[in-house]
Subunit: 369 residues, 2 copies
DNA sequence: CTAAGTTGAGCAAACGTATTCTCGGCATGC
DNA sequence: GCATGCCGAGAATACGTTTGCTCAACTTAG
C-alpha cells in the first residue's frame, strides 16, 4: 500500500542504503544496480517521504514567503514567480499572509519555525521587530525589502523609489502641471513614507513647492483611493495626482468616473507599482513600475545564496531594485493647455473627452448626485 | 541552540513522553507537571518539529491546493480564505499552480505526494485523469469542482451555472436586447462548456434563437477579451455581450474604450465570476457572481470532513454552489430604446454617454485608428 | 604470489516526536 | 492488613530516511 524505501530495497535485492544512494544519484553506486533500483521505483510509483528526509538531513527544502495579503494584486505575480523558481530548485513554499494583523504576523512566524523553513522572504511592508528576532535567533536566512537590519544572514533589497517618482513628477511637469497632489499609503509603513518623501524631493528638485495640503493620506486600498479624490478636491484643486500605489489610483479613477471627472483631461493620474491590471484600466494607467517579477527573483536568489553559501562570508547581501515610469494614457496636458500642443506620446488619450465635465469641475461645482 | 523535546524534558525533570503529552494537552498528565513543562517551553521558545511529528503520526497536516494560475484574479481570494481556514485548524497549505501545462500538473501531484498531504482541493478547471489516479491510488481525499468522479473519498462541488446565467440573459432581454453575443472560454474546459450551454439554454427558454455566429470563442484572458470584441463586431453586431468570465469582459471593455465604443450605451456587457476588481471597472461590471469565498469554504470543509470522518461511510460528498447576477453599470437599454424609459436600476450609467460613438458604431463604421 | 590500495555495498546509528507497554505507587474494598 | 484496581509517569519502540563506518572483493604494484 504505502511504499517504503525498504520495500524497494527488498524488491531490488539491495540494501536500503543503496536505494537511497541510487535515488539521490550518488555516483559511487554501480550503474547496474542503480538501474535495477530505478526500475522498481518507477514500477511501484515510489516517492521518497520528504518528512523523513528533512528530519535526518536537517533541511526542509521549504522557503517561507510572507506577504501582506494575497488578494492585493501586487502579490500574486510575486507568488507565481517565486513558486516557479521554487519548483525549479526542488523547494516548496510556505505562503503566509499577515492581514496587517499582529496576531497573524505572530502565527506567521510560528508556522515558519514549526515547519523548519530553510529561509524566509519577508515581502510584506511592515513587521514586528520582535518577531523577526525569533527567526534571527534560529539562524534562519532572511530577506527583506528595504527594512532589514544590516547583519550577516539577512539580505536586503533596496528599492530605488526616487528614480521612478522623479520621472513621474517630471513627466507631469512637462505636461504643464504645477498643482500636483500626492496620495500616500498608511504612514506607519516605511515604504509609504519613502514614496512620499521621494515625491517631495522630486518636486523640490524642479522648483515646485509642495504645500502640506497637497499631500493627503490614503491607505493603499481602492476604497482609500475613492475617498482620496474628495480630499484632494476640496483643497488645492490640483490638475494631477500621483498615488502611492496602483490600487489607490484605480479607486481614485473609479470615483472620478462617478463624479463625472474625466481622466486624463480634467485630472491626470499616475500610479505606483505597475500591477498587471493597470494596463487594462480605463484609461490605461500611467504608473511607476516596480517589477514584481524582478523582486521575487531577487528575493529567491538571495535566499539561495544564503543557503548554498558554504562559507559564512557570503557575497554581498544588498540588492537593488530600480523603478521607472511607464507611460500610458491616464495623463494629459494640464487643463487650459490642450489647445496648443499635442499631448506627448499619449496617443488616443484625447478621445472620450467631454468638455462639460471639465467645465463643471473647474468651476468647483459639485458633481452630480 | 536547536531546541529539542529531550532538552525540555531534561530541564523540566520529566520524561520526553510527559513533555509530549503535556504539549498535546493530553488530560492524563498531572496539572502540576504540565505547568512545569509549559514554563520551560515558553522560556526556551520551543516549537515542536513538525516533520518528526508528521513522520510518526502519519498526518502531515498539509492540504494541497491546486489552482490554474495565482495571477488570475479569480484565485487569490480563494487562496486567502483557504489559508484563513487552514490556520484556524492548524493546517498548512501547499499551493500549486498548473500553468495549463501538463508538465506542471505532473510536478504538481508529485509535490503533493512527496509531502504526503492529507488531502487536496483541485480548483483548477481541467486536469489529467491519469494524474488524479495517482492521488486516488494513495487514498488521498480529494475535492473537485464539477469534474470529479462519483466515488468514495472524492467530494464534488457542483456549480449551478444555469441560475446566474439565466438571470443575466433575462436582465438583458428586459433591457430590450435581442442580439446577445457570448464569448466562451477555452473549449476544452468543462466549466467553459457548461457556461456556454447554460447561455444557450437560457436564450432558448425565452424564445431567443442563438445563431452560431453569436458565439465566439475566447480563452478566459484579458487579451482574449480584446480580440473577442472584433470578432463579435464583424458578425452580428450585437447590442449586448455575455462573457464566460470577468477577465474576458475586462479585456473587452478595454478594447471598446480604444475603439470609442461606449459601454453600456453602445454595448452592454456582462461578466462571470464577480472577481473583486469588477466592481472597480469603468463602468462597474455587471456580472454573475460565483462566490470565491464560498467556494473555498466548501472545499475546505469537504476536505476536513474526509479527514476527520472516522467512519468510511461519511456524509454526502456532493456540495452545491449557486450563482446569481449582480447588477452594476455595464448594461443599459439597447440602443434605440434609451429615449423612452429610464434604464432599470443602473443609475449614473447614463453619464459619460457620447453620442458620436454610438452613431459611428451603429453605422458600422471603423473605429478611429 | 603477496601486500597494499581501491572500490562499492551493507550495517547500524541517528533525526525528533508520538505512543504502546510496563510498572510503581496509591487508594479502595474486603 | 492484604489483595485488587487504578492512575499516571517513564522506558522503549516505531516512523522513513540519510550517512558514517565496516568490510569483502577486486585491482595493482612490488
Amino acid at each position: 500500500m504505502d511504499m517504503d524505501i525498504r520495500e524497494i530495497a527488498r524488491r531490488a535485492k539491495v540494501s536500503t542504503a543503496t536505494v537511497s544512494r541510487a535515488i539521490n544519484r550518488i555516483p559511487t553506486v554501480d550503474p547496474q544496480l542503480a538501474k535495477r533500483v530505478w526500475k522498481v521505483v518507477d514500477e511501484l510509483g515510489y516517492y521518497p517521504n520528504t518528512q523523513a528526509r528533512a528530519l535526518v538531513s536537517g533541511k526542509s527544502r521549504i522557503f517561507g514567503l510572507v506577504v501582506s495579503e494575497i488578494t492585493n494584486p501586487f502579490f500574486p505575480e510575486i507568488v507565481q514567480t517565486f513558486e516557479n523558481l521554487a519548483v525549479q530548485h526542488n523547494y516548496e513554499i510556505l505562503l503566509t499572509s499577515t492581514i496587517h494583523d499582529p496576531k497573524r504576523m505572530e502565527s506567521s512566524v510560528r508556522r515558519m519555525i514549526e515547519r523548519r523553513v530553510d529561509g524566509v522572504a519577508i515581502l510584506t511592508f511592515g513587521m514586528e521587530d520582535s518577531l523577526i528576532e525569533h527567526l534571527r535567533f534560529r539562524k534562519v536566512p532572511l530577506v527583506f525589502v528595504d527594512v532589514g537590519p544590516d547583519v550577516p544572514g539577512v539580505s536586503n533589497i533596496r528599492v530605488n523609489y526616487q528614480n521612478g517618482i522623479r520621472q513621474a513628477v517630471q513627466h507631469l511637469a512637462a505636461l504643464r502641471h504645477t498643482r500636483i497632489a500626492f496620495v500616500t499609503g498608511p504612514l506607519h509603513l516605511k515604504s509609504a513614507l519613502a514614496r512620499r518623501d521621494a515625491f517631495k524631493t522630486a518636486m523640490e528638485e524642479i522648483g515646485l513647492p509642495v504645500a502640506p495640503e497637497q499631500i493627503v493620506v490614503g491607505d493603499h486600498t481602492m476604497e482609500g483611493g475613492m475617498r482620496a479624490l474628495d480630499l484632494i478636491s476640496v483643497r488645492d484643486c490640483p490638475t494631477a495626482v500621483l498615488c502611492s500605489n496602483d490600487m489607490t489610483a484605480i479607486g481614485l479613477m473609479r470615483e472620478a468616473y462617478d463624479q463625472g471627472i474625466n481622466i486624463p483631461h480634467d485630472l491626470s493620474v499616475v500610479g505606483f507599482d505597475d500591477i498587471r491590471l493597470s494596463e487594462f484600466m480605463i484609461p490605461p494607467l500611467t504608473t511607476v513600475q516596480m517589477s514584481q517579477t524582478e523582486l521575487a527573483q531577487i528575493a529567491f536568489k538571495a535566499l539561495m545564496n544564503e543557503v548554498d553559501g558554504e562559507s559564512p562570508a557570503q557575497g554581498k547581501s544588498e540588492y537593488e531594485l530600480n523603478t521607472h515610469l511607464v507611460l500610458r494614457r491616464s495623463t494629459a496636458l494640464a487643463p487650459g493647455h490642450d489647445g496648443r500642443l499635442k499631448p506627448l506620446m499619449v496617443s488616443g488619450a484625447g478621445r472620450g473627452l467631454s468638455s462639460p465635465y471639465r467645465a463643471r469641475r473647474r468651476k468647483g461645482m459639485k458633481p452630480l448626485a
